[in-house]
Structures are given as C-alpha cells and as structure tokens.
C-alpha cells in the first residue's frame, strides 16, 4: 500500500521540502494552497495544485473539511500535514483516515494522548522517562504541599491547577515562602477560576532545551540523536544545533534511549520529537512534551546523520518497515540552523512582508538553505514570518559557528528586512561560542541592547 499520490496540506518552506522528498521517492505531488498562495514555490514545483480557500488560514489551511474534501477530490491516497496548522490535530488525522486516506504521521490516538499535557506526562512516567518532579496532580492540604516541596527540593513553583497563561504562578525559595505563598495562590485561584486547587513543581533554573528526534514504524523506533534549541525568543526557537554541546555521553545515551522507550511504548509511527529541559549544573533532564510531527529544525539532524527524515516518514506511513537500524545511524560532526524570518530585528521584530529582490543563497558543500523564495515573489502577510532556514555542517561546533558566520556574510535576500543581523550578532557572541546559553538567555541579551550595539558598530 505504498503511497502513490501525496497531498501536501501546508505551505511555505516545509511544503517545498515535502514536495522534494516525495519526488525523490517517485510520488505524484498535489499541493494545497490558499487564494493568497497561488504563486508560492511549492505550487510551482508540485505536479498539481488545488485551491482550498481564502487567504486567512482559518478559512483554508485550518479548514479541516475543505482540506479533506480537496484531498479526496484530487485522488490523493495520503496527506502530509507538515508542521503547524492541522499537523497535531487528532480530529484531522481521524478525518483523513475515515476518508480512506493515509495520514503521514502517528495515529490519531497517539496525537491525542501526547497532545494533552497531563496524559503525556503519565505516558512518559510509565515508560520510565524522567518528568519534572512535582505533586502529580492537585494539592489541597498545606502540610502535604510542604512535604512534597521538601521531597523535590526548593525552589518550587506553585501553579493554579485550573489556570493557564501563567496566572497565579509563584516561586517559593524556602519553606517559609511556601507557607506564605501557597495560601495566596489558593485564594487567587479561587477568585479567578472558582477552584482553589494548586499544584507544585520543581523550578529548573536556567534550563537548556534539548530534544531527541525519533522515527518509528509502529513497532520499532530509533533515535537520530538530539538537538540543542536553547536560543529562544518568545518561546520561539531562533537558532538550533545538533548535537547538543558539552553533553556527557552517558546523559546523551540516557536521553536518546528514554525517547526510544517512549516512542515504542505508544507504538509510534513516523517522525517525532521528545523535548526535555536539561539542568546542566545538575546534569539532569526532564520530559516536557512530545511533538508528533516533523519539526522546523529537522535539517540539523539530517546534516549530522545523513538521513532524509521527510522521505523516511513518508515511507513508513506507506507501510514500509523502518529501513534503518539504530546501529546504522551515526553522529557525524556538528550542524547549526538559523531561522530566517521576514522581520526587522532592529524594530522590535516588526513583520516585513515585502517583495523578494535579488537572491544569492550560498548553497554549497556543507551549507543548505531550505526556503520558498524566488526573485519577485511577494511574501503574503497572512502567515508565519519564517521565510527560510540557513543550515551549516562542519566537523566541530567551533568550525560550524565559523561557517555560519561566513554564510551569513555571503547570503543575500534583497527587498526584505530579515533576522540575518540577529544571527550575525549571535555568531559573534562569546556566550554562544562558549555555550553559556539557556532558554532565558536571549531575551535579556536583546533587552540589554546587544543587537543595536553590534549592528551600530558595524556600520
């Protein structure tokens, strides 16, 4: 039941990436697009294209009925959701299967159980994957709260169990703090949500974000090593690396093996990512969540392993057994990816949906650019500002940073404001080079004016 006709329910650079992978497998490609995306690169490259609705994502890429109908009508036998949009919607995966097509990804049930924070934590815990120590549910008794905090160690975070969006979160550094703050948190939660339930979780200071790429065929799973994604702004990854730097070999093995255990526990099919918080000082890692799709930063893993992850996920979706064993997958060198966004980093990252001018992309040995640009292309304002990714590969991390610096000096994307100046500054940062970074490093660094200072000095 291998896939013959693949419907691509996404846009932008990932649509281009999926069309390429499908073509390399000899699969006929059908590209979905909104009215605003009729001239995008993936439409031009695919064997056929179909309009699924108006510009607004809610009326096109997020309109489940419209996507399923278009896939059906164009005779697709499989649908690739890419990332974002409907990629992690169990209802969408179910609708595709109910319509007699293959969803390129895990089963709807897997997406559902991994999409819910509480159930994902339970699944991880059962599979033996370390989770952030905490109360494992609500606490209503203050003595119990104190004994839990003693067990997991201070500082602890007090959260409203009914809450969300950070409301009612307090940090207790000591038992005295907890005795004072927990009743306040309960009161506030009661007032805000009508439910005074709280829960308690260990605070991980200056955590790094490290995630493991896995690939499964429904029976067996393998890992493709880890990625370091600690440079983040507004919880969006900005710069990603593979492998993580300065990670003890035993920790890497434990992280990767735990991810495989989790994937096999849920009979995972396709590409997935197990995300961890890493406490470098304590050399401890904790499960955060699992993403049940291909990720933006997958190319760094491809660079260090030589695998084509998108082609692999299409093959296993078509019913093939995983064509690689764990022993086949070797870690080679170091890769870095930077996200190129149509935003002006010097104007608070204001979006800049302009017309692409002269393009000069330094694609050569060890440098890859995943993008959806061509000269004269008007970037539509309706979607994410990601316009591409610059990826480099070298023998060592040092050499990869140098190579990234060189590539950023060479690359030319005319007509747009982009985040290239941000990446140039990061590539020259002593902290980045020394690995003195964590998920809370980039925003204060930007707030301190490091970017302005850097670009000002250069002009």
């Amino acid at each position: 039941m291998s896939i013959q006709r693949l419907f691509i329910a996404n846009r932008g650079e990932i649509a281009v990436r999926i069309v390429r992978a499908a073509k390399s497998l000899g699969i006929h490609t059908i590209q979905a697009h909104s009215e605003a995306d009729a001239d995008m690169l993936a439409v031009r490259m695919a064997d056929e294209a179909v309009c699924i609705g108006p510009a607004q994502a809610a009326k096109s890429y997020l309109d489940m009925d419209a996507v399923v109908k278009a896939a059906k009508e164009t005779g697709a036998d499989a649908v690739h959701p890419g990332y974002g949009f409907l990629a992690e919607s169990p209802a969408f995966a179910r609708a595709i299967e109910d319509a007699g097509m293959i969803f390129v990804g895990p089963s709807a049930d897997t997406i559902q159980s991994m999409g819910d924070k509480v159930s994902a934590r339970q699944v991880a815990d059962t599979a033996g994957v370390p989770v952030v120590p905490g109360s494992d549910g609500r606490v209503d008794d203050m003595d119990e709260a104190a004994s839990i905090a003693d067990r997991i160690g201070y500082p602890v975070m007090i959260k409203a169990s009914a809450g969300g969006g950070g409301r009612g979160i307090r940090i207790a550094e000591t038992a005295d703090d907890l005795a004072k703050l927990a009743p306040q948190a309960r009161q506030e939660a009661q007032a805000a949500f009508g439910d005074g339930g709280i829960y308690i979780e260990k605070v991980i200071r200056e955590p790094r974000h490290i995630e493991v790429q896995i690939m499964g065929d429904g029976k067996r799973a393998v890992h493709c090593f880890e990625r370091e994604c600690s440079l983040q702004r507004r919880r969006q990854k900005v710069w990603e690396e593979a492998p993580a730097f300065g990670l003890p070999e035993a920790t890497r093995d434990a992280m990767c093996n735990a991810a495989v255990d989790l994937a096999e526990a849920v009979e995972y099919r396709g590409a997935g990512t197990v995300e961890y918080l890493y406490d470098a000082k304590a050399d401890k890692f904790y499960f955060i969540e699992m993403n049940t799709r291909i990720q933006v930063e997958h190319p760094v893993t491809e660079m260090i392993t030589g695998l084509d992850l998108v082609a692999l996920m299409i093959r296993v979706a078509g019913g093939e057994a995983l064509p690689v064993t764990q022993d086949d997958i070797k870690l080679n060198g170091h890769a870095i990816e930077v996200r190129l966004n149509a935003e002006d980093p010097l104007k608070k990252f204001m979006p800049f949906p302009g017309v692409v001018g002269k393009l000069d992309l330094p694609e050569s040995d060890g440098i890859r650019v995943d993008h959806f640009l061509y000269e004269g292309y008007q970037i539509p304002p309706f979607y994410d500002s990601l316009i591409g990714k610059l990826i480099v590969h070298a023998d060592t991390r040092e050499a990869a940073i140098d190579k990234m610096k060189g590539a950023l000096d060479t690359i030319e994307i005319g007509g747009l404001k982009t985040t290239i100046p941000l990446h140039k500054a990061l590539a020259q940062s002593a902290d980045v080079r020394a690995g003195r970074i964590h998920t809370q490093w980039l925003e204060p660094w930007l707030d301190a004016g490091n970017l302005e200072g850097h670009t000002g000095g250069a002009s």
């Binding site: 108006p54 510009a55 607004q56 204001m350 304002p381 500002s385």
Partner: protein, 77 residues
C-alpha cells in the same frame, strides 16, 4: 473628512477580540492616537491609530477582511 489607512498589509479586525464590540461606532469622538482597529500581519497584531481628531464616520473595511498597506479602513468626519 479624513481616511484612516492600514499601515501594513494583513487581516483587519474591527474588534479587540471576537467577543468584544468594535473599537469605535459611528458618531464616536476620535482623538489622535486612538486605536480604531487591528491588522494581523504574520501573526503579529498591529494597532491602527487615528492620525487626527474627529468624529468616527464608520468602517469601510469589513471585519476580518484581507487588506493591503494604504487601504482605507475607516473614515473620520
């Protein structure tokens, strides 16, 4: 009579959120700097502000309409 134009291309919203009333109604007093709507561009929301004092003359762009930079969104009397 002055027009209020969109500063950026994107999706225009007359309301702060779907449950709220529009920022302005016909006949409302408008002061320079008042927000009359939002334009969503690349997942960011940009406030559209009046550049003159006056009386609100109504929206000329529909809620959730796709707009280009420079499109007239509302009028001032």
């Amino acid at each position: 009579m002055a027009d209020i134009q969109s500063p950026v291309p994107g999706t225009f919203y007359q309301k702060p959120s779907p449950e709220d009333a529009p920022f302005k109604a016909d006949g409302d007093a408008v002061k320079t700097g008042d927000t009359i709507g939002l334009v969503e561009v690349m997942k960011s929301f940009i406030e559209v502000q009046a550049e003159a004092d006056g009386t609100f003359g109504g929206y000329t762009a529909e809620n959730e309409a796709a707009v280009s930079a420079g499109d007239v969104l509302a009028t001032l009397k």
